[in-house]
Symmetry: C2
Subunit: 336 residues, 2 copies
């Protein structure tokens, strides 16, 4: 039974509560600190995109197609569909001789509300490039081009691109690639159920690649640097990932995933963090990650970027404060 990590209050009463687990693990799999069940398998969803992007660099595809740091950040991103994201994905697609319809992810309105509203006002409809995963998919297509295999079906679990991705993910998380249950993500790419502790270990290896082969270590370093350098490309204006990466001032990078997952890489410590909220609530995962960053010394409590996610007020539709979201004592006791 995982502990309650986050509470949501109204009028001083707890209205809702979120249980979950946190694993902080180093690159060799040593558990630095754990709250709840770190052995339960979770789908990382978008929170392990940097692991999924390893073959893009390691295979030589990124170099062959001149993929720069901004594009690598987009390969690791759940972007908000702002022009800064979609214009770069479009340019990258053209450079690998692909078009929007080659992307296997479905369309959805940009997560960035002003951009979405501007599109609606202009009578525009979202395309696959607006999908928050379009950078990851363009990375997959780049690998397919480099391998000189068909881009059609690149999202299928048995396609050469996805086999490379699966094997890289499994090796990073110290798992047998054939033992990971497969699920299909919201963007139609394969996702793998991974024990929370293994996911944290995989993230740790991105920041401490000393146990990796030289080519994989170089890929891990380059991806982590791109992720750190471009917090807005990895997420978007006002998003938790951008805020927390900027608050950490280079000490930590973080990545959200659907259904209450959040990961972090702490290169200075050589640790990885993985969070899963049992019920899948994003709001709770954001509060947990903000708290973990302050506990681990990656960010200072009390800054606007941290408070916004750690302990935000709950407001009604006329903006009065009617409650708050807050981490519990259980979370504050996380040894670090």
């Amino acid at each position: 039974m995982n502990p309650v990590l986050v509470e949501v209050t109204r009028g001083g009463q707890v209205e809702s509560a979120h249980r979950g687990a946190v694993a902080i693990v180093d690159a060799v799999g040593k558990r630095v600190a754990v709250l709840g069940d770190a052995d339960a398998a979770v789908f990382p969803r978008s929170a392990f995109k940097a692991l999924q992007a390893l073959p893009l660099v390691e295979s030589g595809a990124a170099d062959a197609f001149g993929v720069g740091d901004e594009e690598l950040a987009l390969a690791c991103a759940s972007h908000s569909g702002e022009p800064m994201h979609t214009e770069r994905v479009e340019t990258w697609l053209a450079r690998i001789d692909c078009v929007e319809s080659d992307l296997a992810c479905g369309p959805h309105l940009p997560l960035h509300e002003p951009t979405a509203h501007a599109m609606l006002r202009a009578g525009d409809r979202p395309c696959r490039i607006h999908n928050n995963c379009s950078g990851k998919h363009t990375g997959f297509l780049t690998v397919a081009r480099h391998l000189r295999v068909s881009v059609e079906g690149y999202e299928r679990p048995d396609h050469p691109v996805q086999v490379l991705v699966r094997d890289a993910v499994a090796a990073m998380c110290a798992l047998n690639p054939r033992s990971m249950p497969v699920g299909i993500d919201g963007c139609a790419a394969p996702n793998y159920a991974i024990p929370l502790g293994g996911l944290a270990q995989g993230m740790a290896k991105l920041g401490d690649p000393s146990s990796l082969t030289p080519s994989r270590a170089a890929a891990a370093k380059r991806l982590t640097a791109a992720w750190k350098a471009h917090p807005l490309l990895v997420s978007g204006t006002g998003r938790a990932c951008a805020d927390l990466i900027m608050a950490a001032k280079g000490r930590t990078v973080v990545k959200t995933g659907a259904e209450g997952v959040f990961t972090a890489v702490l290169p200075e410590r050589g640790w990885g963090v993985a969070v899963k909220i049992d019920d899948g609530a994003t709001r709770a995962a954001e509060t947990v990650m903000a708290k973990v960053l302050t506990l681990l010394g990656s960010a200072d409590e009390g800054t606007p970027e941290i408070t916004k996610h750690l302990n935000p007020p709950i407001r009604n539709w006329r903006a009065d404060i009617v409650g708050e979201r807050r981490p519990t004592e259980a979370l504050a006791r996380l040894p670090a």
Copy 2:
């Protein structure tokens, strides 16, 4: 510790799970069936709007201002802001000599996405009438007009209108009106923390008003009839409340509330139902209520209206089925 009532799967694995409690209680407070903690206090949020509307009828305000069944349904509604809702609220406001700015609820875009998108395309901005609670607030204003008290501040807990509402809610839920913790709802109206079993009892009395004073019994009957007759006005196109009320074919009315609350009134049985999901997830509350209705014989399993909420597929952005939402065995064992 409340049991897991709903699971969300991906690739055959449970990805997220929701705990919660269910109370089925009769009008005198006898517990017909309970799962989890029925004594824990919950904010009913919008799920007890029919209780909040009792003074509108009981005070004579509805009759004095010619408030019909469609408007009573809107007083009990969390509406989707479709033209069928906003046009009726606007007409009602004019009849009581009030204007949009008299409403204390803040503006938000209609919950009905096509309506919201059409507004954005037309360059329109939402006003307070689009707030999903604008019918409830217009009901409050109608009571204020009838009492010949100031409409200004009608949303404050100590305003005569809210004192009437609080006392009616407390009496229906068999509580001391002064012992109910107060919270402020998303629409700026007071909300009260009520034990789940008491909330279920309050709903039961709406369907079995035999223990109520004649004027309150008449108000309960009239509100329940209006609610039953106008499922689309109480919610909106495609919404869970409308679907479940229509699936129940007059045997049951239901009402959703924010943060995972759902209530039902079963007049034929004389029972009330209250559901609270611990983590506040609406998706889980909808699955629980759909299951409860089938267990209580109010609706048939297998119809599209029930399946859509009981056991919907989880789809990715290109509409492939990648998982499902489903009730657990714990819920299926609910004695009924």
